[in-house]
């Protein structure tokens, strides 16, 4: 009997070692441990053994069974892990195949420029305020120190609806509207569409966008204007950006200035982009003219302020090296996709 058990055990171990699938393993289990299995048969033959010998024999059978079961368990684990390995190997993919994407649309370059400018000024406590695109002459000109027959009115090539109503030529009328409301102090910017009767070409459009800025408070100085716009230029074009303030004339500011920034392509050394000068003109600004303050109901003896205006298209064209303004209004997907 003993030798029979030993024989079974050896055979079982051999068969298990040969099993290389879970099915073969199962077959082996059935062959030895199943109801009709060999070990079961031995167990069944126990009735032929004398009662004294039975416990010892029983123990030997159990030991054999335990050994086989343990081996089955180990083999199973091994086979399962092999099967998983095979599966994983079979599931390998070419990760360089194209991605599946949910196509996302693109922002208009003007929009990107606008959002950047807004972001910078909101961070400095400015409120974003809009004004009407069709505007009274009074706001677009008169309250900005551009009275009837002023040459600046001609210079700006205004579209007229009636004698008193125009398509605004600048975002500056929003200044007058906000000042008239009389809520002080003021820190605001106003982005929006403006119109001038320029024929469409690579550098002109009868409709374009500006962002106006206005600060009115006690003790606002030209130095504050410089500081604010330097900060703005650095945030927009990079920390190394330098600014240059040149005297200029606008009817609604005094003193007035135009602002150049160091060319962000060449860093100021001079290149094709800045026409060799190292500087690029980006905006006009100045201290709000005391007469404008008076007309809008603010006492210039008590309050001062500054204002500035930036062309959005100008920033967009410069930033992205777009050489033809018409691209901004054709809405060609091949163009928009690049932003």
């Amino acid at each position: 009997m003993n030798s029979q058990l030993k024989e079974i055990r050896e055979q079982a171990m051999k068969r298990l070692s040969q099993a290389d699938t879970l099915d073969m393993l199962n077959d082996a289990r059935v062959a030895f441990l199943g109801k009709k299995g060999e070990l079961t048969a031995v167990l069944k033959s126990m009735k032929n053994i004398s009662p004294e010998e039975r416990p010892a024999f029983g123990q030997m059978v159990n030991e054999t069974r335990a050994a086989i079961e343990k081996q089955i368990e180990e083999t199973k684990k091994m086979l399962e892990s092999k099967a998983l390995e095979r599966q994983l190997a079979a599931e390998e993919i070419d990760v360089t195949l194209p991605a599946k994407r949910n196509p996302v649309g693109h922002r208009h370059p003007n929009q990107i420029a606008q959002e950047e400018v807004e972001h910078i000024f909101i961070g400095m406590g400015y409120e974003v305020i809009e004004g009407p695109e069709i505007e009274y002459d009074k706001y677009n000109f008169e309250l900005l120190n551009i009275p009837a027959n002023h040459p600046a009115k001609d210079e700006q090539d205004t579209f007229y609806i009636t004698k008193d109503i125009v398509l605004r030529t600048q975002t500056s009328p929003v200044q007058a509207r906000v000042m008239q409301q009389g809520k002080l102090p003021i820190r605001m910017i106003s982005p929006g569409r403006v119109f001038r009767s320029d024929e469409v070409d690579a550098t002109h459009s009868p409709s374009f966008h500006q962002i106006e800025g206005l600060v009115i408070d006690k003790d606002i100085t030209f130095a504050d204007l410089k500081g604010t716009l330097e900060e703005f230029a650095k945030k927009l074009f990079g920390e190394e950006t330098k600014t240059k303030f040149r005297p200029h004339h606008f009817p609604f500011t005094e003193p007035s200035a135009e602002v150049d920034v160091s060319c962000f392509k060449c860093g100021g050394k001079g290149c094709r982009f800045c026409k060799g000068s190292g500087w690029i003109e980006i905006l006009g600004c100045g201290m709000v003219h005391p007469h404008v303050l008076e007309m809008c109901g603010i006492d210039p003896e008590e309050y001062t302020g500054f204002a500035f205006g930036v062309g959005l298209e100008r920033i967009a064209l410069l930033r992205y090296e777009i050489d033809d303004m018409r691209l901004l209004y054709e809405n060609d997907e091949r163009f928009l996709k690049q932003f």
């Binding site: 649309g105 009407p132 007229y160 410089k226 200029h248 003193p255 001062t304 901004l328 928009l336």
Partner: protein, 805 residues
């Protein structure tokens, strides 16, 4: 405005800077230099040589061999020029030098290098130059020969720099003068700025007394009838006129400003206009009837022939210069043919006046004639400058021997312009600039541009040529300019804190852009004005409200003449542009205003309505677009059930594939497939879909008030209903009923199957909905569920729907 360096230096003798230094410094004090051209940029190694010998070229008929003294040596030069003879002094470009171009006047950028070489076998060590080869023209150098080498006067010094001798070693600066600085439209004005900029002495020309002992009042009488348009009229008379070329120095200066020298009289007038910025006019005194000048408005329709021979028609707002019988000139714009100076002139009447700038500008526009004179007058000149210019011109007449100036000046000056005085408050100037300058520093800067301090009254006195100084802020700018904008400190505003940020409307627009983008739509922009043909293109009927559009009175053309009342034209044009360029699967959106007049013609500002317009072709259909619309509305908190109303049809949309989006009693917008006719009008060859959302309505309904409801604690129960539905019944109607009958317990409704086809009875469609029921308070029991379902079934059956399970 242009000036040359040499002319500026004539009044700022100590000026010694390079063209670039001049450009940078002037720009930083407010006289913006746009650019400069060096007349000698392409000229190199050119000296005055004297021809000592000439012999024929042995092998070429048209060439001669010259021995030329160039000061240091005699050198041999071969030339083809026909006009030189022994003894002539000529410009010689030496070996390795450069000239600006060919003798045909064609300039070569960078110049043409001249090398020693052989011409038909004969050595030539350089080239003799024509004025054209030196980069100029016979027009500006009238003494130059028609064809051939330029010949210097006999007293020219051999070996000297020929470029210098010709005045070509000069730089021409171009300025952008702002409209407030009328005084800088003159050489003197710019020289004054240059002197202040470089802190050098300003030496303007000294105008001396002129005239014989006769009295001009015996010669001419002047009456100004319309003094509102002519604040000053001065006149002088010059007799015994001797017309001749003006001297070289004057010709050179005019040439350097691009003005062609003509004769002494014309040149003096032009010279003074450049120098003083004051246009003048010369009449033939003998043609002035009654020797009388009357300044008056023209009669409506009055015809007048200007000195260019053109007959022009005046109106009553044009100011005329007349004699005792007739008009002799259009004031400030152009003189008349009938009184112009000819070579036979004996006595001349000189006019220097000050006309109203606005009137000149508008008249010049209406007549369609803009001249150098009108361009100056329209800026509004200083009447006190007229007298100075007049006297300067007469001084030059005498200096040049052009005639005998009659003593005295007729001067009709009704309201004398007095200097403006501004109280000097240095602390306010510092407060405005953020500087800490002393009173003395400020006065120094102000004095440098002739803003004098009157210590008795503590006032700054602004000369009358300054039209832009009225108050402290103006003085602050003068101080800042010469202190240097660069030197002003850099600070940030102090003072009251402000919160900043965007309005509610802008936040909604931001969400619109985000939702659109993440659904694959790119942002476009189109013009606010368009053609009235748009209405036809969109098949809008004659009485459509969109046709009530605002017209621009001076549009760029009919195609840009009305303010848009509908945003679709821009979108469809953009889709068509993309389609024509073979772009596939295009999705665009725009956020832009339409302009709805409250009344026409406009008496108040119109209603500007922001439209969120989406358009697409390619992948996707009506329901794709509907999904984007709903996604957006939910993102702005408009999450209730919307009605898709088909009772009103837009003519540009497919009649069976369009809907208005309605919530409550508010129309939020519409969406649909573009009508095939409209698509073909625009040239879009695929099915295209659009949605237009009216942002003011959406902004009024949007809300970000969210309240957390808790996560459901009791289980949900799902029930599917499969049904056979008459084709005419819309899903929306079924869903309305489900929600109405489902009551509080109904949590969601989902259509999960729609089928029409052979397995379904004709006239019907098969639909299947999943209803999810849940109570917030307890676990639902069969009785609850069956109660709801019973109500639902009954309702459906009333609609002619058969329940299958």
């Amino acid at each position: 405005m242009n000036t040359t360096y040499s002319w500026i230096k004539a009044y700022v003798p100590d000026l010694d800077v390079t063209a670039q230094e001049y450009t940078d410094a002037m720009t930083l004090t407010g006289t913006k230099v746009e650019g400069f051209v060096k007349a000698d940029a392409d000229l190199d190694k050119i000296v005055i040589g004297q021809i000592k010998e000439i012999e024929r070229h042995p092998d070429a008929d048209k060439l001669i061999i010259c021995q030329v003294d160039i000061g240091t040596q005699i050198t041999q030069i071969v030339t083809g020029a026909p006009n030189v003879k022994v003894g002539d002094k000529v410009p010689v470009v030496l070996d390795g030098g450069r000239v600006a171009g060919g003798h045909d006047g064609k300039l070569t950028p960078g110049g043409v290098e001249i090398r020693q070489g052989k011409l038909r076998g004969v050595e030539s060590n350089g080239m003799l130059c024509s004025i054209e080869e030196l980069g100029s023209t016979k027009e500006l150098y009238p003494e130059a020969p028609e064809y051939g080498i330029y010949i210097f006067p006999e007293d020219a010094q051999v070996g000297a720099d020929a470029v210098h001798e010709l005045g070509l070693d000069d730089v021409n600066f171009e300025y952008e003068i702002t409209s407030n600085r009328v005084d800088c439209f003159s050489v003197i004005g710019i020289a004054r700025e240059a002197a202040a900029t470089f802190r050098k002495k300003f030496v303007p020309p000294v105008v001396t007394a002129t005239g014989n002992d006769e009295d001009v009042h015996d010669y001419v009488k002047v009456t100004v009838r319309d003094a509102d348009l002519c604040s000053r009229y001065t006149a002088r008379v010059v007799k015994n006129i001797h017309i001749a070329p003006s001297p070289k120095w004057m010709q050179r200066r005019l040439a350097s400003a691009g003005i062609r020298p003509i004769n002494n009289l014309v040149d003096i007038t032009n010279y003074v206009m450049e120098e003083f910025g004051q246009p003048m006019h010369a009449f033939d005194y003998d043609q002035i009837a009654g020797h009388e000048i009357i300044v008056r408005r023209a009669e409506n329709g009055e015809k007048f022939t200007t000195l260019d021979g053109q007959e022009r028609t005046m109106d009553e707002n044009v100011l005329m210069i007349c004699d005792g019988e007739k008009a002799v000139g259009i004031a400030g714009i152009m003189g008349g043919e009938n009184s112009m100076i000819t070579d036979d002139v004996k006595t001349m009447l000189f006019e220097a006046a000050c006309f109203d700038g606005t009137n000149i500008r508008l008249s010049s526009k209406r007549i369609g004639l803009r001249t150098d004179a009108s361009a100056k007058f329209e800026k509004g000149l200083d009447p006190n400058n007229a007298e100075a210019a007049m006297n300067r011109a007469c001084q030059l007449i005498e200096e040049l021997g052009a005639g005998e100036v009659v003593g005295g000046m007729v001067d009709v000056y009704s309201a004398k312009k007095e200097p403006v005085r501004v109280v000097f408050e240095p602390e306010k100037i510092n407060a405005l600039l953020g500087t800490d300058l002393t009173k003395e520093e400020m006065l120094g800067y102000l004095k440098s541009v002739e803003l004098e301090y009157d210590a008795d009254t503590n006032e700054i006195v602004a000369p009358t040529f300054r039209h832009d100084i009225f108050r402290t802020a103006d003085l602050a700018e003068e101080v800042a300019r010469f202190y240097g904008y660069d030197n002003i400190p850099v600070t940030l505003p102090k003072g009251g804190a402000t919160t900043g940020g965007k309005s509610f409307k802008m936040k909604i627009e931001e969400i619109a852009r985000t939702v659109a983008r993440y659904n694959g739509f790119s942002q476009g922009m189109s013009y606010s004005f368009e053609s009235p043909k748009v209405f036809e293109k969109l098949s809008l009927p004659e009485d459509a409200p969109e046709r009530r559009a605002i017209r621009i009175s001076n549009p760029l053309g009919e195609d840009f003449s009305i303010m848009r009342t509908i945003s679709l034209n821009g979108m469809l044009s953009s889709l068509a542009f993309n389609y024509n360029h073979r772009n596939k699967n295009v999705r665009l959106f725009e956020l832009g205003n339409i302009y709805c007049p409250k009344s026409l013609p406009l008496t108040e500002l119109p209603d500007e309505r922001m439209q969120f317009t989406l358009g697409m072709y390619g992948d996707g259909d009506f329901f794709t677009m509907k999904g984007v619309v709903e996604e957006f509305l939910e993102n702005v908190g408009i999450s209730g059930r919307k009605t898709y109303d088909t009772s009103e049809k837009k003519p540009f949309l497919h009649p069976g594939r369009q809907a208005r989006v309605i919530m409550g009693d508010k129309v939020l917008g519409y969406l649909g497939e573009i009508h095939p006719i409209t698509a073909s009008v625009y040239g879009i060859g695929e099915k295209a879909y659009v949605a237009v959302l009216d942002m003011p309505v959406i902004v009024s309904m949007a809300s970000f008030d969210i309240k957390y409801n808790g996560i459901a604690r009791y289980p949900a129960v799902a029930r599917d209903i499969s049904m056979l539905v008459p084709k005419a019944v819309k899903a929306g109607e079924i869903e309305d009923l489900l929600w109405q009958r489902g009551g509080k317990l109904l949590e969601s409704v989902e259509l999960f199957d729609v089928y029409e086809g052979i397995q379904v009875r004709p006239g019907f469609k098969s639909m299947a909905y999943k209803l999810v029921l849940r109570s917030a308070e307890r676990t639902l029991e069969d009785a609850d569920i069956n109660g709801v379902m019973k109500k639902v079934w009954n309702g459906l059956e009333h609609m002619g729907i058969e329940i299958r399970s």
